[in-house]
């Protein structure tokens, strides 16, 4: 191990003692020297360096393009709810938003028409918790899920599903025809027998 002349470790520099996870637990895949970073984030956040394609919404929302405003929440809570601005409101202009793909903007406005103003601003609020930061997280979560829903394409049928559907339709049609034939025979047999028939 290289000994450092300055005796405190700076970020992104070699550690001088052997107490790193690579030496403690070398078999763990998360700490293997060659492994890339693992990020099991369900919030679907990706580093800013990754290019945002206009075709798909990646999950990354540029926070600087949103307008946040804070106000007092409703509900019980005494002096705390009266004084502390915990309600979070976020708004942004949908048609001019660069981070949403063009083709889903109309779908977004259609789905959330009660939350979109005449000028085209989508407004979301949250006063779910006692903390402003948690409410802000809630509002971000709502926004992300709204955009994902608008971006969701209707699922087409697979070949197998089409085959199954056609098979079932054919079978039900066959069954209908069989019943018609039987009913017809029944009605015919009700009539009085004519000369020449058995």
């Amino acid at each position: 191990m290289q000994r450092m002349t300055s005796v405190c470790r700076r970020l992104s520099s070699q550690v001088w003692s052997s107490l790193t996870m690579q030496t403690i637990a070398p078999n763990l895949s998360a700490f293997a020297a060659s492994s890339s970073t693992t990020c099991k984030s369900t919030d679907a956040a990706e580093p800013k360096e990754e290019a945002q394609t206009t075709q798909q919404f990646s999950g990354h929302i540029p926070v600087e393009e949103l307008e946040f405003s804070y106000s007092r929440s409703s509900g019980p809570g005494g002096q705390n709810v009266n004084k502390v601005s915990t309600k979070v409101e976020v708004r942004f202009h949908v048609p001019s938003a660069s981070w949403i793909p063009q083709d889903i903007k109309s779908k977004l406005i259609e789905l959330e028409h009660n939350r979109v103003t005449k000028e085209g601003y989508l407004v979301l609020t949250s006063d779910k918790t006692r903390k402003q930061m948690l409410n802000q997280a809630d509002v971000m979560d709502k926004l992300r899920s709204i955009v994902f829903k608008a971006a969701a394409k209707p699922r087409g049928l697979t070949d197998q599903e089409i085959q199954l559907r056609d098979k079932r339709l054919a079978k039900s049609k066959e069954e209908t025809l069989r019943e018609k034939r039987q009913r017809s025979m029944k009605k015919q047999s009700r009539g009085s027998p004519s000369v020449g028939s058995v």
Binding site: M1, R3, V7, C8, R9, R10, L11, S12, V15, W16, S17, S18, L19, T20, M21, I24, A25, A30, F31, T37, T38, C39, S41, D43, A45, E46, P47, K48, G59, H60, I61, V63, E64, L66, F68, V84, T86, V90, K131, Q132, M133, L134, Q136, A137, V139, M140, D141
Partner: protein, 291 residues
């Protein structure tokens, strides 16, 4: 692998010459003490008659028939193994902000447990199984200080609140011996013993301190960077760029996993009286303290 012979030869070479001042006699066999006190005659410390003299005293804890104390008090499972569990006395973010505002804590240097204990308003008691500070969420909304913080336990909201203001957080484990030195460094330096090498966390704590989402000191730096971005997206704030910050050198300062004090390495001896720092030179010592 060194053989016994090699080890013995090395010892002979390195140890000082045998002399009267560095040898000890083998301990003599201690004879069993026979109790023969002249003063303790007649009743031999037992008093007169009764159970005490007749060796029929009841068992320890018996209270003459009523339910004894040790059976009267009910068992409460919540305190099971409490004497073995680690405790992290809480400090709110509100308190920390107050310390900073009132100048009790210096934000121009990294804030760790020593700074918090030096305020005199936060106490860590090792005998009560305290293992450091737990920074809690109260006051996260109004927190507005840019600091390089090192705590022993914290939550995601606290991490977000600190990073939102351009600071950094690290969670760090200290074993009780190192913690004792950290809480009261002056008292430790007065004893003039070698600065200990910090031990790794116990098995049940290893996962916490090696996780980037907790900003553990054993986690990888790249993973921490990813987590910082994730948290900024989750809580809806613009992540300040640490590299562009003029105070970034201070914010990027981190202790090595075995290091206890900034600027001092394990194995060094601080002599306060003569204002000296003594460092070991032998390779065995250096290897031990760096391992």
């Amino acid at each position: 692998m060194a053989s016994t012979r090699d080890t013995a030869q090395r010892l002979i070479r390195s140890l000082p010459r045998v002399a009267l001042h560095n040898i000890k006699s083998v301990q003599p066999k201690t004879r069993k003490k026979v109790r023969r006190s002249f003063a303790k005659g007649k009743t031999h410390g037992r008093g007169h008659k009764g159970q005490g003299q007749h060796m029929t005293l009841p068992r320890l804890g018996f209270e003459g028939g009523n339910t004894p104390f040790y059976l009267m008090i009910p068992k409460e499972p919540y305190y099971q193994n409490h004497h073995l569990r680690r405790q992290y006395p809480p400090l709110t973010m509100l308190s920390l902000q107050r310390f900073i505002d009132l100048g009790r804590v210096d934000t121009s240097i990294p804030i760790d447990l020593t700074q918090l204990c030096n305020t005199g308003l936060f106490n860590v008691n090792i005998d009560r199984k305290h293992f450091g500070v737990n920074l809690t969420e109260e006051g996260a909304d109004i927190f507005a200080a840019k600091i390089n913080l090192e705590v022993q336990w914290t939550t995601e909201l606290v991490i977000a609140a600190v990073e939102r203001n351009g600071g950094t957080v690290t969670t760090r484990y200290y074993d009780p011996k190192s913690l004792r030195a950290l809480i009261d460094p002056l008292h430790f330096f007065k004893r003039s013993t070698a600065i200990p090498r910090c031990r790794l966390p116990p098995q049940d704590a290893l996962e916490y301190y090696s996780s980037a989402s907790n900003r553990g000191y054993l986690a990888k730096e790249e993973d921490i960077e990813v987590e910082r971005q994730r948290l900024a997206q989750k809580y809806g704030y613009v992540l300040p760029d640490l590299h562009a910050d003029p105070g970034s050198t201070m914010l990027k300062m981190r202790k090595d996993p075995g290091q206890l004090f900034y600027g001092l390495e394990p194995g060094w001896v601080v002599n306060l009286k003569d204002r000296l720092v003594l460092k070991p030179k032998s390779p065995e010592h250096l290897e031990f303290y760096a391992s």
